[in-house]
Each structure stands twice: as structure tokens, then as C-alpha cells.
């Protein structure tokens, strides 16, 4: 079996096994632990097999699936998805480890859901057939919504439904775009396929690709989330169980950025570049807005959730700078945010398990009873605030620098300076929270007996701390694996954009040759055959 298929189906098989195998809860927990650890080792093996000098799709696996509709089973990994898959592999065992003792009911179902989610996420990162991608994309929605809806906080149903509907709304439009894309490809080249590697060479007239782009972009923008599509996030985070929040922040949000990278840029380079000022601008708005709103939160988890809005803004800014530095920064922010914010949610969960509240005013002076916990929390907060030497800085700096040096982004310098104010604001909201929770006198009597982290909790958090330091001090191995892919992606985008422009000019001189099919997103399939001129 190819390693990519193994990566997708190993956790799903684990999920099924845990779901149907009747045994003690502790045994299922151990099984889940072994399955997720095995998955992590598999992802590491994939990273070792990955050739860092190639920017092409690697370890590609292709077989027929539904030949009638041109749907194939197609998996592959490149520099964009590699890091994200390994991140997924690394976070899941940590989440499983932290679940014991934290999840009070139906832990087996929880663990099975988590592993199923992992399989779906890995599948989404690796799938290169649009239908397969969409399948995994929707598949990960369901376990996540269930995780929030069953194991969540008091307003879990509201949040779960909001999360589900909001993201499903986006993906519905994406499905329309996918179908139209395949249809248009069949029309112009007489080949029905959902193979992304073939579809990405398709050149569409701008007014068509605009609609298709919007279909994709809305789905991804909701997922990122880009301001103003972010309001599902704080609710989902606040209500989700710890593990759900970790995965949500750590991996799920990254699908938005990944989608822009994987689909929006190569499929619609011209539109993407025209939309860049808007999306990068919204990213900057998100950076500042998220930070400001984060500052006034009273619930620690909500604060961290809004900080995610702020951090993910850097992804948008770097990505739409269309420079290699910015794109690398964008991807690196994804990874760093996955580690540091994942760790923050984990840590907030540890505190919640002890006190069953996340209200900042309930705490104060926690360092005196939980010194180890305080130390790791401060390190994580600093990593999140972008302190050089920890993971956050590398990505943020590269995003900012990439945007600053961008040739294609209008007002690039202004946007960068506005985004850079997050340097101040992130220090304000994180350190202020740290101060109110950890420092000062131990004023609340309920906190007097809090126990420091247990061995299990330490095992869960310390690997993440190690990752934060490693990614900050020696990010070179990670960047090296992104470099060829990003170089190629950028070249491809620029070339294809040039080609589209040339084609446009040709059409301007001879407008009556092959007018582009006018598509209304919504009814591509049952449209009558186009009359040829």
C-alpha cells in the first residue's frame, strides 16, 4: 500500500476498530493512542521520503474510481501539504493523550470521532481529485460538529449548528464551482475529469473564473476565517471540548489557507491577483481587529480564539503578497499557529479541567500553586506573540517582509505597517492575560489547592514546547521543503496569468472567436449545449 493511502486510512481504520470493539474505556484510549502515534510515525516517514529538492507532487498515487464521471482516486504531497500533514499527525496523539480525564462521557465515541476526523483531514490535504477532496472536506465537518455538539460547553448545540451551517454554506458554493470547472474543461477540451493536476492548466475567460473563484474563495475565507466571516470561530472554540479546539485551531483553520494555495492560486491566477488587495486588506483588518477584540475578552478561550483571527490574517497578507517570502511566511504561520495556539488551547483546557471556569477574573497568582504550568504557559504565550527565537516570529516576519517587498500588491507598505502593529497588540493582549491569571496575589480561595500538571499533561505539552523552540531556532529544514514548491507555484501562477492576459488581448482584437461561456453559478449542468458561432 502506498504510504499516502496508508496515512489516510490508518486512522479511519483505527476509528472503526475503536467504535465497534467492545472493551474497557482505558483500553480504547490506549488503542487510540497507539493508532494516532502510529499515524504520526507514518507522517514522519513520509516526511523522510519527501525529496526536498523537488517542487512537484510526490508519492503520487492514482487509480480509477468512478470512470464514467472522470473521478479518480488521486493522492499526492508537495511542499505545501507536507508540513500540514505532519502537523496533523503530531497534534492528534497529543489531543488523544489529553482526552483521558478530561472527557467525562462516552470517551470511546470521542476518540473514534477524533481519529475519523484525522483521517478526513489528512485525506483533504492529500487529495488531488476535486471530488475526492470535496468528499474528505465534508467528511471532516461532521465529526467536528459532533465533537462540539456532544462534548462541548453549555451553548454547544448553538455553536455546533452555527459551525456546521456556516462552513457547509461555503462548501456548497465550492461544489458548484468544482462542477462548473469540470464541465467547462469538458467543453473546451473534451475530457471530463476532476483531476486537479489536469484542470489547473485550463484557461478560462475572466468573467467566468471570477464566479468560480468566488465560489472557492468564500468557502476558504469562511474556513480561515477572514474578517467578516469569522464569527463562527469564537463560538465554536469557546464551546468545543479541549481536543476539539486544539484540532480546530491547529489544523481545521489551515484548510482555508491551504485551499487558497492549492486551488485558488493555480486555477484562477488572474482573479487571485486582482482580488489580492481585497483579501490581503481583509487579512490586515483581521489582524488588527482580532487583536483589539481579543484584548477585551474576559474568557481565556475566547481571547485565544480571537487571537487566531489575528494570526490567520498574517497568512492572508503573506499569501496574497505573491512573493516567495510572503508565501513561505504564510505557510509557516499556519504551522507555527497550529503548534502555539494548539498548545494554548490545551493549556486552557488543563486549567478548565481543574476549575471548570475560564473567566480571567476567577484567577490570579496561579504561578504560586502551579509553577510548571505557568512556565509553559508563558513560553507558549510568547511564542504566540511572535517573540524571536520561538516559532511565531519566523512566519510573521516572513509574511510581513514578503508583503513589504511585494511588487503586485498595491499599498503594500501601508498594509504591512498596519499589520505590524500586531507586534504591539499581541504583546498587550497576551501578556495582560498572563498577568491577570498568573501573577499577583493568590486572591481566590478556590485556587489555593490547584495541583500542578500531572505526568500525562506534561507529556502532552512538552513536545509542543520543544517544537516551538525548534521551529524558532532552526526553521531551515521546514523552509527548505517549502522552497521548491513555492518557487514553482509562483512561477506557474505568473506564467498562467501572462498567458491569460495574452489570450485576452487576442480576443480583444478578434472578439467574435469563441466567446466564453457565460455561466451563472448554480445551474451549470442542466444548461443547454452552447451554440457555437
Amino acid at each position: 500500500m502506498n504510504i499516502l493511502s496508508a496515512l489516510v486510512f490508518f486512522p479511519i481504520a483505527g476509528a472503526l476498530l475503536i467504535a465497534i470493539w467492545p472493551c474497557a474505556e482505558r483500553t480504547s484510549w490506549r488503542m487510540a493512542l497507539i493508532a494516532s502515534a502510529g499515524e504520526f510515525l507514518l507522517s514522519l516517514k513520509m516526511a523522510l521520503l519527501f525529496d526536498p529538492n523537488s517542487g512537484l507532487m510526490q508519492m503520487v498515487e492514482q487509480s480509477e474510481w468512478i470512470p464514467t464521471f472522470g473521478i479518480t482516486y488521486l493522492l499526492g504531497v508537495d511542499g505545501v501539504s507536507l508540513g500540514l500533514v505532519v502537523l496533523t499527525g503530531a497534534l492528534t496523539p497529543i489531543v488523544v493523550l489529553s482526552a483521558w480525564g478530561s472527557i467525562q462521557k462516552q470517551i470511546r465515541a470521542y476518540l473514534a470521532g477524533m481519529l475519523l476526523l484525522e483521517g478526513a483531514m489528512v485525506g483533504s490535504f492529500l487529495a488531488l481529485d476535486l471530488v475526492l477532496f470535496f468528499l474528505f472536506w465534508e467528511l471532516m465537518l461532521i465529526p467536528m460538529a459532533i465533537l462540539i455538539g456532544v462534548w462541548g460547553g453549555p451553548r454547544r448545540i448553538y455553536s455546533a449548528i452555527k459551525f456546521f451551517l456556516y462552513t457547509a454554506f461555503g462548501s456548497a458554493l465550492m461544489l458548484v464551482s468544482i462542477l462548473s470547472l469540470a464541465y467547462l474543461h469538458m467543453e473546451s477540451r473534451n475530457l471530463l475529469t476532476f483531476n486537479f493536476l489536469i484542470l489547473k492548466d485550463l484557461i478560462l475567460p475572466p468573467h467566468v473564473s471570477l464566479y468560480l473563484f468566488l465560489g472557492f474563495a468564500l468557502a476558504f475565507a469562511i474556513k480561515v476565517p477572514v474578517f467578516p466571516f469569522h464569527t463562527w470561530l469564537p463560538d465554536a472554540h469557546t464551546e468545543a471540548p479541549t481536543g476539539g479546539s486544539v484540532i480546530l485551531a491547529g489544523v481545521l483553520l489551515k484548510f482555508g489557507v491551504y485551499g487558497f494555495f492549492r486551488f485558488c492560486l493555480p486555477l484562477f491566477p488572474d482573479i487571485a491577483m486582482r482580488a489580492a488587495p481585497w483579501l490581503a486588506g481583509l487579512g490586515v483588518v483581521g489582524i488588527v481587529y482580532g487583536a483589539l477584540v481579543s484584548m477585551v475578552q474576559t474568557d481565556i478561550k475566547r481571547l485565544v480564539a480571537f487571537s487566531s483571527v489575528s494570526h490567520l490574517g498574517f497568512c492572508m497578507l503573506g499569501l496574497f503578497a505573491f512573493t516567495v517570502e510572503g508565501m513561505a511566511g504564510s505557510l509557516f504561520v499556519c504551522l507555527a499557529h497550529g503548534v502555539s495556539t494548539g498548545a494554548l488551547f490545551l493549556l486552557v483546557g488543563f486549567l478548565y479541567d481543574r476549575r471548570h471556569t475560564r473567566d480571567i477574573s476567577e484567577f490570579g497568582g496561579i504561578t504560586q500553586v502551579m509553577p510548571f504550568y505557568a512556565a509553559v504557559f508563558v513560553i507558549t504565550a510568547l511564542a504566540s506573540a511572535g517573540l524571536p527565537g520561538l516559532c511565531g516570529f519566523v512566519g510573521e516576519f516572513l509574511s510581513l517582509a514578503g508583503a513589504f517587498l511585494s511588487q503586485s500588491l498595491p499599498h503594500a507598505r501601508l498594509l504591512t505597517v498596519a499589520a505590524a502593529t500586531a507586534v504591539i497588540l499581541s504583546a498587550v493582549y497576551l501578556l495582560w492575560m498572563v498577568q491577570r491569571v498568573f501573577f499577583g496575589a493568590l486572591s481566590n480561595d478556590k485556587n489555593r489547592r490547584l495541583a500542578d500538571l500531572t505526568l500525562r499533561e506534561r507529556c502532552a505539552i512538552l513536545p509542543l514546547i520543544g517544537l516551538m523552540i525548534w521551529m524558532g531556532v532552526y526553521p531551515e529544514p521546514i523552509l527548505a521543503r517549502m522552497r521548491p514548491t513555492l518557487d514553482m507555484l509562483r512561477t506557474f501562477v505568473m506564467l498562467k496569468r501572462g498567458q491569460i492576459e495574452r489570450e485576452l488581448q487576442r480576443n480583444d482584437t478578434a472578439p467574435d472567436i469563441a466567446p466564453a461561456p457565460m455561466e451563472k453559478p448554480g445551474s451549470p449542468a442542466d444548461r443547454p449545449p452552447r451554440e457555437t458561432v
Binding site: K162, L165, Y166, P228, H230, T231, W232, Y289, L292, V293, S294, M295, V296, Q297, T323, V324, E325, A328, G365, T367, Q368, L382, L387, P388, G389, F393, V394, F397, L398, L400, A401, G402, F404, L405, T416, V417, A420, T421, V423, I424, A427, V428, L431, W432, Q435, F438, F439, G440, A441, L442, V473, Y474, P475, E476, L479, A480, M482, R483, L486
Partner: protein, 635 residues
């Protein structure tokens, strides 16, 4: 053969050992490791600087050591590379030398503190980042050190975190520094946009190459000004200049050795170092240099005025530090880089001495910091008294102590300066007035602490004691350095010659100016000291009477011109309320729009559900209506 990385590594290894294994060994081992590693760094720096000195051609006195590639993507290629030249060599010696003495002092000062190990881990970490800052060739790596020392400052100011006041002071320091860092970061990006590199040596090469071959320079005068001003914002944050100085007085909440090491001798001088390092950029922008000089001079006098009316011994020293840093900026602003660094060095000696001396006093008085509750300590703390005297005279600028020489050189340079913003005479006048105030407030501090009647509270009287040897030995060594450091630096222009590969040989000032400035600065030094002795020793009621006569003026100064309150009202609160407004907007506008969309769809579904009545007859009618409309349309 240079061993640059071995300057940085010993404290790093020591801190990791103490952090990970420290719980299994005692305080003695922790202290030995922490102090020994810094001593080792000092010895390696000494050795490397000596090797540097042995290179015959001064222009080639540069050594570098690449450890590994940190970042490389696109146009960025940033190695972890250390570069030793006369400037960084001097800085390394100050950092590790003074740093070692303060480590040693801390062993005694912190011995009974439960956070002993944590303290030394932070202190070692600080040394690592500070060395990284001065040894880095790449500006981004310098920025790592720059932020790293800020982190250590944050951790050490809030070291006693159970008191919310300390934690707040730490956070304030970090946030204000970050405001500066924003400027630094933007400056950094602008540098990259102009030079396509962040390596200082490469930048210098590009410029000298362009000059040598008469090519157009890579940056326009306006761009140079913007870059220099952005970087100066960073320097203002780190080095506590107007308007970002507000964090430093609060930073005195940290343990006193921290105040000595970080907030007097080393970290706060990073801004001066950075400008001295990038002198070739500032050379392009007389305007930016002028701004540096004006801000420096203004800070020097402003902080000195505030220092006059403070009663906390550490607060006086803190404002004094702000003021002396102003002098350094004045120096680098008027192009006297050598003397700016020279004053940095002498200031490191005497200000570290003064802080450690005040620490010794505080230690002896069981934590008392109020000058009004001291007095008459000269007999009880003889070593502290005599060393403190040396420090006071040195900072006041009494010949032949260190401060006299460095301050004198700066004043001469200011007098001869030609800046587009302000005349050299004005800068000189401001500098001289600040020197007078310095002599006055230091004399005041000295008299109130050590002379006159003892005003110590009764319960603290009986355990006034001289400090242990680990604390007095650093005091004595620093007193010696404060006494002879200045003279040694000007002897045959040894310090200027050491830095000459960077800044060239200093021009000799006209003798008339030199003698005039020397006489004036000696006069104000003695005048200030004498006046303070008159005020606080001969006629102790006089200051109070004066304060009462000029009531509001005195209160205004004593309350630090209400700048903290001003910032609270024009910056802190507005930002907070913008956040509150954003939160309300998020809840009532953005999220409501989402929920209304959902609700609207739900309502539409409800209305449409009336069509699904289940009645076949109704369906048939609707069908008929539909078909007739269709037929009508398609006709």
C-alpha cells in the same frame, strides 16, 4: 584563530544545565555554574579582543564565525553569524566583565530568595541574548538579541511576581519596548528594500563600493532619513528616551542587581550601540542625526530635572540612567560615536557601581528604599560608603574620575557640532545644565543616604550590616574601574584608537574650546555637589521650604510631569475602548448579520412550507399556474 561562538555558548550551557538539572544540586553549584560561565565568556572575549588587537592593519580587525543558516527563503539568506570588531569587542568586554561582577554580587544578594535558581537562569539568558545582540552581523539576528533582552528584562522586572505592581511594571516595559520594536522592524524592512541585504558588513561594503566607484548610492537622502528615524524609534524604546522612557523608572521593581546589569549597564545602551553600529547610515542623514542629538539632549535634561525630586533611591538612579543615556545619544547624534561608546563604557562602570551600592544599602536596611529614612550610614557600611563616593564623584564629572573624561568629550563634541536642527551652542548649554543637575541630585542622594543624622526606622536599626564579600568585591572592582577607567581611556587616546577602524581618528578640538568646556564642566560638577551639600547637609530645612514656596511646580516635577497619567488618557484608555467598541461591533453587527441570514433562510423555508400542504389538489393548482406562466413566457 578566533573562538567567537565560545563567547556566547558558556552562559547558554550553564543556563540549560541549571534549568534542567538544577533541582538536583544546591545553590553553590548553581551559582558557580552561572558565574563561572560568564567569567569564561569574559576570558574568551578578552582573548579574542587581544587577537584582534594583534592584527597589525587596523582596518582588517574583523573576525567572523558562522554557526548555521537560520532563515533562507526567497531573497532572505540569514545565517547565525557572529562578527567581532573593535566595537563589538568592547561591548563584549563590558557585558561579560560587568556582567560577571553583577553575577557574583547577586549570589550574595539573592542567596535567601526561594527563586535563586530561576534568577540565575534568567540572568544567564540575558547575557546570551545581549552577546547575540552585539555580536550579530545581520540586523535580523541583532533583532533576535534585541527582543531577547527585552524578554529577560520582562521576566526579571516581574521576578517577584506575587506583587501585582512588579508584574505590571514588567508588562509595561515589554509593551513600551514593543512600540519601539515596531519602528525597528519597519526600519529593518526598509533597509532590506534598499540594500537587498540585512548584513551590516554587506551594507557597508555596498556603500563604500558606491562611493569608491562614484556610483549612485543605493538610497536617497529621504529614504536614509526615514530608515534612520524608524530605527531610532526602536532605540528610543530600548534605551528609554523621550517619549518612550516611561518604562525604565518602573523597571526598578526588579531585584537591584537586575537594575544594575540590565537597566543601567548593558541592555538600555543597546540603542546607542545600534546607532553606533549603523553610523554609516546616519552619516547620510544629518537630519536624522540631528533628531537623535536633540532627543538625547532633551532627555538628558528632562530626566535630570525629574531626578531632583525623587525620594526612592533607585528611582533617582533610574532617572539618572535615562539622563546619562540621553548624553550618549547626544554624542552619537553629533557624530561623536567614539565618545558615545566611551561614555557607555564609563557609565556601565559607575552606574553599575551606584546601583550595586544602593542594593547594598537596601540589603542592609531590610528593603528600605526611601532616602528620607536613611542617613548616617557612612560608619555602618564603610565599604559601600567609600565605593559609593567614588561612583558619585565619577558620575558628577569630577576630575580625574571616569565620568569627567567621557562627559567632557561629549560636551566638546556638542559645542562643535553642526546639525541642521539646532546649534551646537544650544546642545552644549543643555548638556552642561544637565551635568549641573546630575552633580546636584547625586550629591543630594549621597548626603541623604550616607551623611547627616541617621533617620532609619528603629526596628531596622539594629541589623544594619555590611554586605558579604561576594557583594563588596564587585563594589571595590567597579569603584576602581570608575576611578581610573576614564583616564585609561583618554591616555594616549587609547579608546579612540581602538575604535578608529570604525570611526577614524577623532579630530582634535581647538584648545580654546577644549579648555573652556573643561573649566565649565568642572565648575558645574563642583558647583552642583557643593550646592547639594549646602542644601541637604548644612541647611536641611531649606529644600522643604523651597518645595513649599513653589508648591505646584515641585509637585509637578515630583509626579514626573504627570506623563504616565497623560499616556494613560491619550493612549492606553482609547485603545482599550476601541477594543470594547470592536467587541460590541462584532457581537451586534457582524454576528447579528450572520444570525439574521440564518433566520431569514429559516423564515423563507417556513413560508415555503405552506406550499407543501400534502394536498394533491393544491399541488395540481400550483402546477397549472406554473405551466400557464411558463407557456406565457415562452410564447
Amino acid at each position: 584563530m578566533f573562538l567567537l561562538r565560545y563567547i556566547v555558548l558558556p552562559p547558554l550551557i550553564a543556563l540549560l544545565a541549571n534549568l534542567l538539572l538544577g533541582r538536583w544540586w544546591g545553590r553553590k553549584t548553581t551559582a558557580t555554574l552561572a558565574c563561572g560561565s560568564v567569567l569564561l565568556s569574559f576570558l574568551v572575549s578578552l582573548r579574542d579582543s587581544y587577537y584582534l588587537y594583534m592584527i597589525t592593519l587596523p582596518e582588517t580587525r574583523v573576525a567572523s564565525d558562522v554557526m548555521f543558516t537560520w532563515l533562507s527563503i526567497g531573497r532572505f539568506e540569514i545565517p547565525v553569524e557572529f562578527v567581532l570588531d573593535p566595537l563589538s569587542g568592547a561591548m563584549c568586554l563590558i557585558i561579560t566583565g560587568v556582567g560577571f561582577l553583577i553575577h557574583l554580587y547577586s549570589v550574595g544578594y539573592m542567596w535567601h530568595d526561594p527563586g535563586f535558581r530561576r534568577f540565575f537562569v534568567y540572568l544567564n539568558l540575558f547575557i546570551v541574548f545581549m552577546l547575540l545582540l552585539v555580536l550579530a552581523d545581520n540586523l535580523l539576528l541583532l533583532f533576535v538579541g534585541w527582543e531577547g533582552v527585552g524578554l529577560c528584562s520582562y521576566l526579571l522586572i516581574g521576578f517577584w511576581h506575587a506583587d501585582m505592581k512588579n508584574a505590571s511594571a514588567g508588562k509595561k516595559a515589554f509593551v513600551v519596548n514593543r512600540i519601539g520594536d515596531l519602528g525597528f522592524l519597519i526600519g529593518l524592512l526598509l533597509v532590506f528594500a534598499a540594500f537587498n541585504t540585512l548584513s551590516v558588513s554587506e551594507m557597508q561594503e555596498i556603500i563604500s563600493d558606491a562611493i569608491a566607484r562614484h556610483l549612485p548610492l543605493p538610497l536617497a537622502p529621504l529614504a536614509a532619513t526615514v530608515i534612520c528615524l524608524c530605527l531610532f524609534v526602536g532605540a528610543c524604546g530600548k534605551s528609554a528616551q523621550i517619549p518612550l522612557y516611561v518604562w525604565l523608572p518602573d523597571a526598578m521593581a526588579g531585584p537591584t542587581p537586575v537594575s544594575a546589569l540590565i537597566h543601567a549597564a548593558t541592555m538600555v545602551t543597546a540603542g546607542v550601540y545600534m546607532i553606533a553600529r549603523l553610523h554609516f547610515l546616519y552619516a547620510f542623514s544629518p537630519f536624522a542625526s540631528g533628531v537623535v542629538a536633540v532627543v538625547g539632549a532633551a532627555t538628558a535634561i528632562y530626566a535630570a530635572i525629574i531626578g531632583l525630586a525623587q525620594n526612592d533611591i533607585k528611582k533617582v538612579l533610574a532617572y539618572s540612567t535615562v539622563s546619562q543615556l540621553g548624553y550618549m545619544f547626544l554624542a552619537v547624534g553629533v557624530g561623536a560615536y567614539t565618545f558615545g561608546i566611551f561614555h557607555l563604557a564609563t557609565h556601565a562602570f559607575f552606574k553599575a557601581l551606584l546601583f550595586l551600592g544602593s542594593g547594598s544599602v537596601i540589603h542592609a536596611l531590610s528593603g528600605e528604599q526611601d532616602l528620607r529614612k536613611m542617613g548616617g550610614l557612612c560608619r555602618r557600611l564603610p565599604v559601600t560608603f567609600w565605593t559609593f563616593l567614588a561612583g558619585t564623584l565619577a558620575i558628577a564629572g569630577v576630575w580625574p574620575l571616569a565620568g569627567f573624561f567621557s562627559k567632557d568629550e561629549i560636551l566638546i563634541a556638542a559645542r562643535l557640532a553642526e546639525t541642521p536642527l539646532i546649534s551646537g551652542r544650544a546642545l552644549f548649554a543643555v548638556g552642561l545644565s544637565a551635568a549641573f543637575l546630575t552633580a546636584f541630585y547625586m550629591g543630594r542622594l549621597f548626603v541623604m543616604a550616607f551623611l547627616g543624622p541617621c533617620r532609619v526606622e528603629a526596628d531596622k536599626q539594629h541589623h544594619i550590616h555590611e554586605s558579604p564579600w561576594t557583594m563588596t568585591v564587585p563594589l571595590i572592582v567597579l569603584a576602581l574601574l570608575s576611578a581610573v577607567g576614564g583616564a585609561a581611556g583618554v591616555y594616549h587616546h587609547s579608546f579612540a584608537r581602538w575604535l578608529s577602524p570604525l570611526y577614524g581618528a577623532p579630530d582634535a578640538a581647538p584648545p580654546a574650546v577644549e579648555h573652556f568646556v573643561m573649566a565649565a564642566s568642572l565648575a558645574v560638577a563642583f558647583g552642583g555637589l557643593a550646592l547639594s551639600f549646602l542644601f541637604y547637609l548644612q541647611a536641611p530645612t531649606l529644600p522643604d521650604r523651597l518645595a513649599r514656596t513653589a508648591g505646584w511646580l515641585y509637585r509637578w516635577v515630583a509626579e514626573k510631569f504627570y506623563v504616565d497619567e497623560l499616556y494613560e488618557w491619550i493612549v492606553v484608555r482609547p485603545v482599550y475602548y476601541v477594543g470594547v467598541a470592536g467587541q460590541a461591533f462584532d457581537k451586534h453587527v457582524v454576528d447579528r448579520a450572520v444570525n439574521w441570514t440564518g433566520g431569514g433562510l429559516k423564515g423563507a423555508g417556513f413560508l415555503l412550507s405552506f406550499f407543501q400542504s400534502g394536498n394533491v389538489g393544491t399541488y395540481a393548482i400550483w402546477f397549472l399556474i406554473g405551466v400557464s406562466i411558463l407557456l406565457h413566457v415562452m410564447r
